[in-house]
């Protein structure tokens, strides 16, 4: 449904900062979270839609219901 977690410290060393030749953020000082969800799945639960493919068929009989 929804992946969430703490950002891997390796990511920070790849974050460019404004300073020239910056090695990126220091993971000893910076930490953060990331999460994200597929809106299709939320909508499936909310509207009782049985199949993800319905979203991409663009059948008017489907579209007209929303």
């Amino acid at each position: 449904m929804l992946g969430a977690g703490e950002v891997d410290p390796n990511v920070y060393s790849h974050v460019a900062t404004t300073e020239a030749n910056s090695p990126g953020y220091d993971p000893e000082r910076v930490q953060g979270f990331a999460w994200g969800m597929g809106i299709e799945r939320i909508a499936m639960l909310m509207h009782g839609i049985p199949d993800l493919r319905l979203y991409y068929e663009n059948d008017l009989r489907f579209l007209e219901q929303f």
Partner: protein, 843 residues
């Protein structure tokens, strides 16, 4: 990975039902995909029986009437059709009332006049073995391996007593836990690895590793020889030799476990390799040693173009980065993927060479991808197993080869490469655990968790030093990885819930996003349906849109590694998905539809008239109207989806954003009807907007920007999508957003009424309405408020090549009411300007 619950509980048996096990595994990071049931739905009325007699049925040649001791006072009479039933056998019996795996209930039956009080079962009837001839005979070797070993060592009765519940001696009913194992955890592709997770997640004791006692030995082996020429791709190769092997069906307990785990039982040797793999995670391969040329195996890189016939009978062509195993007669297997036909175990095999090797994961992945060949083994090797696992699998297989195949193991083990480098110890600072997790986990608890996961720990000043077990050496290399282990086992669900401070964290949509949403809402409000298409498109779309070889829309971004040819370019226009959707619906719901899509379109980097152009992605809004605009009614037709219908819709949309727009003839779009298409232009102006509209600005001050196209779809294009008359427009919402004012400024209007005058003029037909109005507005200057064309006439009275246009104009001044005299000079200027275009005033 399918883990039979009964098998799992042999190593870790928490006081939880299967749902509880599922919950703990999922919460600690080993996701349970599904729980299946395997075998009979209920173990009732299934018992062990002993056949006391088996006589020919008086009225049927193929049936036997048996008396079977079921542990009760008098034996039961059972009619049996199996050819192998005989007095003295211990068998599995279903009594009336027993439920079979398909859910059916067994009833007492009369067979050719003899009442049968049950059924003697075959392995397939219990879903614990292949369908074969005859009933399953339960002698001691066929029962649970551990139990039979115990019994033999105690030298007591070798068979279960009649009447014993069958479930006590055979795994005839189990739940199967299907796990989604992430690629970093190949150790969880073995039942024992999962048991260790369950042990850590529940605190329930874990049985010792089942490979701890090894009946094999180390040292040199006589009778077989192995050479590894590419140790970079084969870190470890181990092999053992077994003699006096008898190939036979596997004992029921083994067949039952494999069946429940989703592996088809084949014969004892093959089943043992699969069993050892499912338990340890490590694949094995059995060679018929007498069919290995020269009793010698060489592991080497393949020659480019070399062929191997694999077990599935297919000839595979290899390249120089793939690894083969060959004997004196040539290649026999593709390393890590599939064995060869030539040295496969046969029914008459008596000597087995058991290979357990470790392969370089990325190389196996590459080979598997390149050959389009995936196997259970390659799916494991490609994730990177630990070299240590080789001997685990050898130990399990050796025990079973001795017990189930009557084999003897030749002393010694061929072992090339040996164990991997010991994993280094990693520091785990207490302060860091607290900083990352936000809670205190006592040092002792951290150590307990890591020890349960088979890490070694030692205490140091600022925390712990932890050494991962070999199977985790690729996965756990940093302090943060240790913290993850501690956190997931201690329970992420136990972390407190806090909300971040939200000072200054308010978000809002950008202007461009608001324009986009407003445009979409406007179209929905006009009764259109929004569709969503794929960004990937088919290259033939460009041909079907009749785009010439040099058309700018031909410079598409190509996908480097497309899933298929029909998804190999990034779409340069929304028209493809709009037309596809129109066709899909026309064939299902009828031809009338009004749809739009709002999405990104792409163009490749390249050169154009302005020089280098970077790759471009912008947000486009595309509309498609087809068929009748409204359903037929008694009030008449509203009309078809034509140029004017599309233009009206475009106008209602653009006017909403207060942009100054116009359309002009253009032939840039070959997919549009040549006579019914136009370019949409919006006017950027740094000056007062009304001036731009009146055309008072010089060209440089009023920059027209092309934002898209409008028109009817070319009949040939419409036809190739099986559509009739279809109109469309598309605009670049990015440009629209830059032109649309974020805040509309008020324009003053005076209290004085406008003066309205009409004008009829004949003009050559080449003069467009746009040109005419542009000129009129320019000549009318500030005093002219509006000018519109309200009638068009062509015919004999105006002459060939000309047409008559009727204009209505209103004049207005801020400070006074205008009179005809005030307007007269302006009117003269307009008429003069018209005559420049060849216009003549009509009487």
């Amino acid at each position: 990975m399918r883990v039979p619950e009964t098998w799992l509980r042999e190593y870790c048996d928490p006081d939880l039902d299967v749902a509880g096990v599922e919950e703990r595994l999922t919460m600690t990071g080993t996701k349970v995909e599904a729980i299946h049931h395997h075998g009979v739905p209920s173990t009732e009325n299934l018992v062990v029986g002993r056949v006391l007699s088996a006589e020919r049925h008086p009225d049927a040649d193929r049936l036997k009437v048996c008396t079977v001791d079921l542990g009760e006072e008098s034996p039961a009479t059972i009619v049996c059709g199996a050819p192998n039933v005989a007095a003295g056998q211990t068998v599995a019996v279903a009594r009336p009332g027993a439920r079979m795996p398909d859910g059916s209930k067994l009833k007492q039956a009369k067979l050719r006049g003899v009442v049968s009080e049950g059924m003697i079962l075959a392995a397939a009837e219990l879903e614990i073995g292949p369908g074969g001839e005859g009933i399953m005979v339960l002698d001691d070797a066929m029962l649970d391996a551990d139990r039979s070993t115990d019994r033999r060592s105690n030298e007591i009765s070798d068979r279960p007593a009649p009447g014993t519940p069958l479930a006590d001696v055979l795994p005839i009913s189990t739940e199967v836990i299907e796990l989604e194992v992430t690629p970093n955890r190949p150790d969880c592709l073995g039942v024992y690895g999962v048991a260790r997770e369950l042990h850590a997640a529940t605190g329930t004791p874990l049985a010792p590793e089942p490979w701890r006692e090894d009946q094999g030995s180390s040292g040199a082996v006589t009778g077989a020889e192995v050479t590894v020429q590419c140790p970079d791709l084969c870190p470890r190769f181990t092999a053992r030799v077994f003699e006096n092997v008898t190939i036979a069906p596997s004992p029921p307990w083994l067949a039952a476990r494999l069946s429940a785990a989703g592996q088809r039982p084949i014969n004892n040797v093959v089943d043992i390799t699969n069993y050892a793999m499912l338990l340890t995670g490590q694949p094995l391969h059995a060679f018929d040693l007498d069919r290995v040329g020269g009793a010698r195996l060489t592991v080497r890189r393949a020659g480019a173009g070399e062929h191997v016939i694999t077990l599935d009978g297919q000839t595979r062509t290899l390249d120089a980065e793939m690894v083969v195993i060959e004997d004196a007669d040539g290649p026999t297997s593709i390393a890590g993927l599939m064995g060869g036909e030539r040295s496969e175990v046969q029914p008459e095999t008596t000597r087995v060479l058991l290979e357990v090797a470790n392969w370089h994961g990325p190389n196996i992945h590459r080979t598997s991808w390149a050959l389009g060949l995936r196997s259970e083994a390659s799916g494991r090797f490609e994730k990177g197993l630990a070299p240590e696992q080789c001997l685990w699998a050898q130990a399990i297989a050796t025990r079973l080869m001795i017990e189930c195949c009557g084999a003897s193991v030749t002393p010694g083990t061929i072992d090339i490469g040996g164990e991997g480098a010991p994993p280094p110890a990693i520091g785990l600072r207490e302060t860091r655990v607290r900083a990352i997790l936000g809670i205190e986990i006592p040092r002792a608890r951290q150590a307990e968790i890591l020890n349960a996961l088979d890490f070694h720990t030692a205490e140091v000043d600022d925390g712990l030093q932890a050494t991962p077990p070999p199977v985790r050496r690729e996965d756990v290399t940093r302090e943060i990885d240790l913290i993850e282990e501690v956190a997931r086992i201690d329970g992420l669900e136990r972390l407190p819930i806090t909300l971040p401070a939200r000072r200054g964290a308010a978000g809002r949509l950008t202007h461009a996003q608001r324009v986009r949403r407003s445009a979409e809402d406007a179209l929905v409000g006009r009764g259109l349906h929004e569709i969503v298409g794929w960004s990937f498109a088919e290259p033939t779309l460009l041909d079907r849109l009749l785009l010439g070889p040099d058309h700018p829309l031909r410079s598409v971004l190509r996908i480097e590694n497309p899933l298929s040819e029909d998804q190999s370019i990034m779409r340069p226009t929304l028209l493809g998905s709009l037309l596809d959707t129109a066709r899909h619906n026309a064939s299902r719901g009828g031809p009338d539809l009004a749809i739009f899509e709002s999405g990104a379109v792409y163009r490749a980097a390249g050169e154009d008239s302005d020089g280098d152009r970077p790759a471009d992605e912008h947000h486009e809004l595309g509309v498609l109207l087809s068929g009748e605009l409204e359903p037929p009614s008694w009030r008449g037709r509203r009309g078809e989806a034509d140029f004017f219908a599309a233009k009206a819709l475009l106008g209602s949309l653009l006017d909403r954003f207060h942009v100054h727009w116009s359309v002009r003839e253009a032939a840039h779009w070959p997919f549009l009807h040549p006579g019914r298409s136009a370019e949409i232009v919006v006017h950027r102006s740094s000056a007062e907007p009304r001036l731009a509209e009146t055309g008072m600005l010089a060209e440089g001050e009023c920059l027209p920007a092309s934002v898209g196209f409008l028109g009817e779809v070319h009949p040939r294009v419409a036809e190739s999508w099986d559509l009739e008359r279809t109109a469309t427009f598309a605009i670049d919402l990015g440009i629209l957003a830059t032109v649309a004012p974020e805040v509309v400024s008020f324009t003053a209007f005076g209290p004085f009424p406008a003066l309205r005058q009409d004008l009829a003029v004949t003009l050559p037909v080449e003069v467009s309405a746009r040109e005419l109005l542009h000129l009129v507005r320019r000549a009318g200057a500030e005093m002219l408020d509006t000018a519109e064309i309200f009638d068009v006439y062509t015919g004999a009275q105006v002459g060939a090549g000309r047409r008559s246009l009727a204009l209505t104009m209103s004049f207005r001044a801020l400070e006074r009411t205008l009179t005809d005299e005030d307007v007269a000079p302006v009117r003269e200027r307009i008429i003069a300007a018209l005559s420049e275009l060849g216009g003549e005033l009509r009487g």
